[in-house]
Subunit: 485 residues, 4 copies
């Protein structure tokens, strides 16, 4: 129900006369992957300029700012970050000076041994100005004794474990690396027509907007180096089994993006069909929770033959903040976004389809709102398995104790939601819907974390570590030192 | 395809401890009726405070501003206005001092004899600071020799012809008036539970958000007076045949609003069904232009049995302004909002459903975009008749020469759109879908303007007159004086 | 001590290719006459555009805004207004449409019979959107039955009593009028060199900045009409004795402006010399309260032979708002602006010179601050007589009860200030310093109000009437109606 | 003439319940030392929060922001930076995480071997996110193998040469260090009364505003450590001859600050007296260039007996940006700030006093403006020696080729300024005016750079290195690498 926070989207272009503008458009198309801050770094071959700010891409980048981001190579980033950040220190790109000149970096993903690497680097005298993983990676690159930047990057990333789709921009190269498990998506495209330009970005929807041709996905463990001589590819990492995040299909990716050869929309419809097979119900209408539940609801309707209706209307002018009335309004938080229609659901047995449930609080409000306008029965159908485990590979999930499916049985969840029945897609069912040409990470459903976490850290520690944005838990740090001695 | 500009939405509340907050929420729910400026005037029984600004409701009103709008009575307004306005002089509410104290006004609609009334008032020594109709009405009220404000309002409105749903806020009264033809919607509601409060506003969706109970529509020609003694109703105007704007069902109203006893969503679905009956086609899928075309497309699919699909994906982060790349991108303006999915429409015979066509330029881009991803056939189906005549009753339509259906045959439009076939709903079909308990204005389809326009003005003069926002065409004015002599 | 609030500064230019830019510069030079809001209206001979906003001239007008204010004729205004105004409705220029086309107006001054005129106009059906005098004047102009705008203006102003220096901008004319008493300043200038352009504005310092030549003062009761045929002058009003505001010399005008043939700086120095003659004292140093007290302190030093020193240092970065610490800091409000220097005043007998005292609270803090760094004696010398009466002619003075000199004897004031002695310039002494070629209004010192106020209103009523910005005292208004019947 | 750019002001407070508020006030009082950006870091003993932004202190820090800066220990910084910075990366405080926890730093000064240290650190694997010296220092601290933070700081600073007054804030300590030469000022104060709190800041004027008691100057080479046990002092550096920047007396410090036991104002007056002794002239009046020239002009007047006048009036509403008219206005840049008064200087032989001359362009405009209003003779007197050499110790001076005194004889400068005579204070004269209890750096006048610069860098390289804000000269860097190999 739209409550997962994707960490990032990345976009890079090399050799295009309007690099900053193309990056702006690409980030705009990737805005669904992060709405809190955005940034662009641009290189004209000798000077790097960059700009990053809190807010939406279309609000941050004025013509004035774009005009000052000159050069034919650029990388950009959209990011989810916490609402209480006072500044932009955790925004990307990270732009630094090191032995070899300037380098700019954007990342989608998460380094699971970041905590340990940071401690080691600090012990060796490194200082950190942010709490983002790429700052760790850049330190590793800077400390590498290799000559070529490609070798430095490989050496650095060989020390890091985790999920990452990273773009590096140096004076004369755009370098893309995807972790060996290929957890986060990354695609390669080419500007069409007479204009040159190689594009590497998170999803194909960004290629569509700028009319770039989709060439292929960057493969797990691949390093793509783009420079004035063309595009070269390397396989510098030990091959492992691909672990593409199955939740990209469930919720994160835009429905019009192509992953594994199929549009996310079609895969979601198939999940809805499979859901109908697994959890049929005798009902009058199928309604989605807009917009995330729409494709699965269409699939459920198609498979079950129960008519599809838009029983919940979405307000499209939802602002960033909203002033609540002092007097309580029932289901207020949800009503600002959605309204239930009595003459669609009234007196009906309703199947409500959504992609997933996080805490369940929003879902409960929606069910109650539908009931309040007269629905006779409400059957909740979720087009993914129960999410019982946090993601450590690039998604900002709540702690386990806050995931309703981690702490409650299905029956309890059904009771909490106040629904008449509840059905989740099975893990097997999910796997049956996604393309066969990939293998997947489904740890959030199965606890099968294929990339080992740091032994010494509890989930909560990891969580806090990754949340330590803008504040420095000095007490914790010295406590740790005490432990370390 | 979302290119009509509704002029306004109005909201008023009387006798509620959080009047400004409720008005803020109500305007938020009515934001689809106008996105350019918004304002609230609030009375605590002795002092009126107001605030109006350019922008969206959720952006304009901070907690700080709302806290300064004190009192238990308030009116609010959302407005479409031109992008080149330097200031807020044409924003509403209009708050003035006159013989009888202060009065605040908001209006949805358009006075068709405004031009003549303004000339007469100017000749009598009135001055105008804006180009909005309510300033004319307030002058007529101020010049009335009646004692009671209700009588002044009636005397004033008896001189005005046109479409109007107006709210007046005086020191101790909230007064609502709907023109005798009842062209623009207006409903009456009551706060539920122990909190008092009468609400009058444009659409029921605003009642839903604040959990007010829908009582009934304010009737054509009715004046509702709310004060501390309760709610009184008057019928001060000569009764005429109701002329409710049928386009409110087609496009303007929010789908979850109830008008004439039915949700707009259901009426739109019925239009889609009727469209399928009138213009059947052998096709593989039905896709809407989101979001306005969704209900009609569902109806078309239901009636025809052709599967419904979301073939166009909408970007939800569209900003107010957008910086275009210098290099041309095909269908750029449309691509920023929509993306067509190859693996949904590719190789398919596609029915594309939308509510209406204005200039056709956007439609043409969308058709070409769908064709570009491989659609085999594209059949455009419009869930309203061809819009051939401008609206003078509160909608900011282009001049006739810019309405494609006014200047081209259906065949020519089909050719222009590059579609394989084109079908519009018939006028009779449209009337068959809307509730029978109302009669309708369909002048934009039929040229049957039931409220006569000013004899002396051409369409273009009227248009310019209504467009004269923020600039004073001094030359024109003295030219006119010259002509008049 | 800088606590008087001048109401306005005006600036107009006719026939200059960069009219808006020149007006921007002129208003910038007149910024000392009002810091709360500013506005420009510009005419290109057929279209009027305008912009007004809260804030300082240099902050409000961007290149973007100035570029949209096209045309070779313009008027501008700077204004003091209350800090609690939520919007700009009382900002000037006022731009209206009336029978004769568009007209824009800016004013410096105050109409003393505004209350009665407003009541009469309201009774005749006029409506008011602001509480500024020029709205009353524009109604009188609009209701005039004369043909020529010049005649309309004269007829309107013949009904108004008070202090006004007004600029009108019509399609093809810039018209300046100064009230018969000539209370507020107004000067006429001409652009130098090859660029044409006539300028009329409040003070000569605005001419200096744009390098216009000072021609002469607009005379009391004069009407200057500038159009494409040149500059014409009229004397349409009954001549009366000139009553130029002597306080313009004391405090309001910029020291570098020339009024009555002498720079305000030299007149202020002479006031300081005269003050030394009237109130000599045996002391070690003379220090001004910067910046307003500097010229008089120099004069006092020159006459007395006591050395001049800068014993108080001013912080030049004072912002609009300032966040106070919770913990009290002595003399905090003053310390943010001024700091006293121990090694200048320590152990010294100090003469502190300022132009005037309003409430005395700031003065008291300053005296205590000087004492705290070791001054042995502190002798306050004020270069104007005690201000005992409010100004109704264009200055926003406090009520009498808040003027310390109106309610306390000199001895009591001296005690309150904690000074060792206190001396004010005598009324005769003041008149001896200002140019002889003018006669003066000194009502704030002498209560000799030469323009009669409205019989029926008390000072407080007048005050509230003039303060009724942004709020409508509905209760008062209807109470008044009750009284009137 | 006000064209030197001081790099910074620092302020720190330990053990005060309103640490952020006090720092805000202190920075406000130090605003003259840098107007481009400001920042505060605050520690509550376990968590550090910080905020930095472009703009003036009073504009940046709202009550909302200050409320979020919690804790009883804080440091703050005001900074001059280049106008073309797109972001705040070079603003201070710099807040980093390192082996020992969090540390925040602010600095006034300049490390002359920064370039070499940065290269060494980069070679050892450090990365840099800004171009500010404190980032180098923090790397040296982080790489130190000492245990105690005090020892780390000493080890780090022993590698750095230059001028620095630095404040460090750790979890439980406020540490101040002043370079052994004591080039930049730094003072120690104590909150008065019952409230605890130790303050360390750049100038005493900041102590005055918050009513802290001045204890003493932090001595050259001293390290002051403030923690919950009290204030400790260390002398960890090799003692050298004090080299206090004499230009602090000439221009940088606020006149009301006490340095070396005397107010800067009194020292400046003495410079004026000495100037009159060295360069007497037969003239009618002495006028300062306000405000920087006022004290010296008073001294000149006192010594020479020539009357002091304010012949130039300053506009106090100068904004940050100013839109120039397309049509040229003579002396425009200067006129926006200053206006010359004909009836003060007309027909007079005028001595114009200022503190220094940088490029001479502004001075030339001022002289011409004074001449244009009728001055008979203009004698320029400068209260410091000719500035012929750039400062490398914390002041942002132009390159030598842009310093008029570096490239022209006095006669040539006099000709360029169009003055009738020109006199600079002698170096000996300057030294005669400043307190004897200090010894001084006067390298900008004498080229006696007591702290050696980096051998390998030319002045221009150093300049560019220090200017490399927000852009990375990639080409240069790799070129350098080439050279280095």
């Amino acid at each position: 129900m739209g409550e997962w926070h994707e960490e990032c989207g990345v976009f890079g272009v090399f050799g295009h006369p309007e690099a900053a503008n193309m990056t702006y458009l690409g980030m705009y198309a990737l805005q669904h992957r992060g709405q809190e801050s955005a940034g662009i770094a641009c290189s004209d071959g000798s000077v790097v300029t960059f700009y990053k700010e809190k807010g939406l891409v279309a609000d941050i980048f004025s013509e004035d700012v774009l005009a000052r981001l000159t050069g034919s190579n650029a990388i950009g980033h959209v990011r989810y970050s916490t609402r209480w950040a006072l500044d932009t220190k955790d925004a990307q790109p990270l732009v630094v000076d090191f032995e070899d000149g300037s380098i700019s970096i954007v990342q989608n993903g998460s380094i699971v041994n970041a905590y340990g690497l940071k401690r080691e680097l600090e012990a060796a005298g490194s200082v950190f100005q942010s709490s983002i993983d790429v700052e760790i990676i850049i330190h590793l690159i800077a400390r590498s004794r290799k000559k070529r930047i490609e070798d430095r990057i490989v050496e650095a990333l060989n020390q890091a474990r985790g999920a990452y789709s990273i773009l590096f921009l140096t004076r004369d190269k755009l370098i893309a690396v995807r972790d060996p498990h290929g957890i986060r998506p990354m695609v390669l495209g080419k500007m069409k027509g007479t204009v040159a330009g190689t594009v590497i970005c998170s999803e194909t929807c960004a290629l569509d907007l700028i009319e770039a041709e989709f060439i292929r996905e960057v493969e797990p463990g691949e390093m793509v180096v783009v420079d004035s001589c063309g595009v070269k590819t390397y396989r510098p990492f030990m091959p492992v089994i691909e672990q593409f995040c199955v939740f990209e299909y469930v919720y994160f990716a835009r429905p019009d993006s192509i992953i594994g050869g199929r549009s996310v929309y079609q895969v979601r419809k198939e999940m809805g069909r499979q859901l109908a097979r697994e959890h049929p119900v005798d009902a009058d209408i199928v309604i989605p929770i807009p917009d995330s539940g729409v494709p699965a609801a269409l699939g459920y309707s198609e498979q079950s033959g129960i008519p599809f209706e838009m029983g919940l209307i979405r307000n499209h002018y939802v602002g960033r903040t909203f002033i609540e009335p002092r007097q309580s309004i029932r289901h207020f938080g949800v009503k600002v976004k959605l309204n239930a229609m009595r003459d669609v659901v009234g007196g009906k047995r309703v199947v409500v389809v959504d992609d997933s449930i996080v805490r369940g609080t929003t879902g409960r409000k929606i069910i109650k709102m539908i009931r309040a306008v007269g629905a006779k029965e409400i059957h909740v159908r979720i087009s993914s398995p129960p999410t019982r485990y946090p993601c450590f590979y690039g998604i900002d999930t709540p702690l386990r104790r806050d995931l309703i499916a981690a702490t409650h049985t299905l029956e309890e969840i059904n009771t909490y939601l106040t629904s008449d029945s509840l059905g989740y897609l099975s893990v097997e069912g999910l796997h049956a819907c996604v393309p066969r040409n990939k293998s997947y990470c489904d740890a959030c459903f199965t606890e099968k974390y294929m990339i080992p976490l740091e032994a010494e850290m509890t989930e909560e520690q990891l969580h806090l570590f990754r949340k330590s944005i803008n504040i420095w838990p000095l007490g914790d740090r010295s406590a740790r030192r005490g432990r370390g001695e």
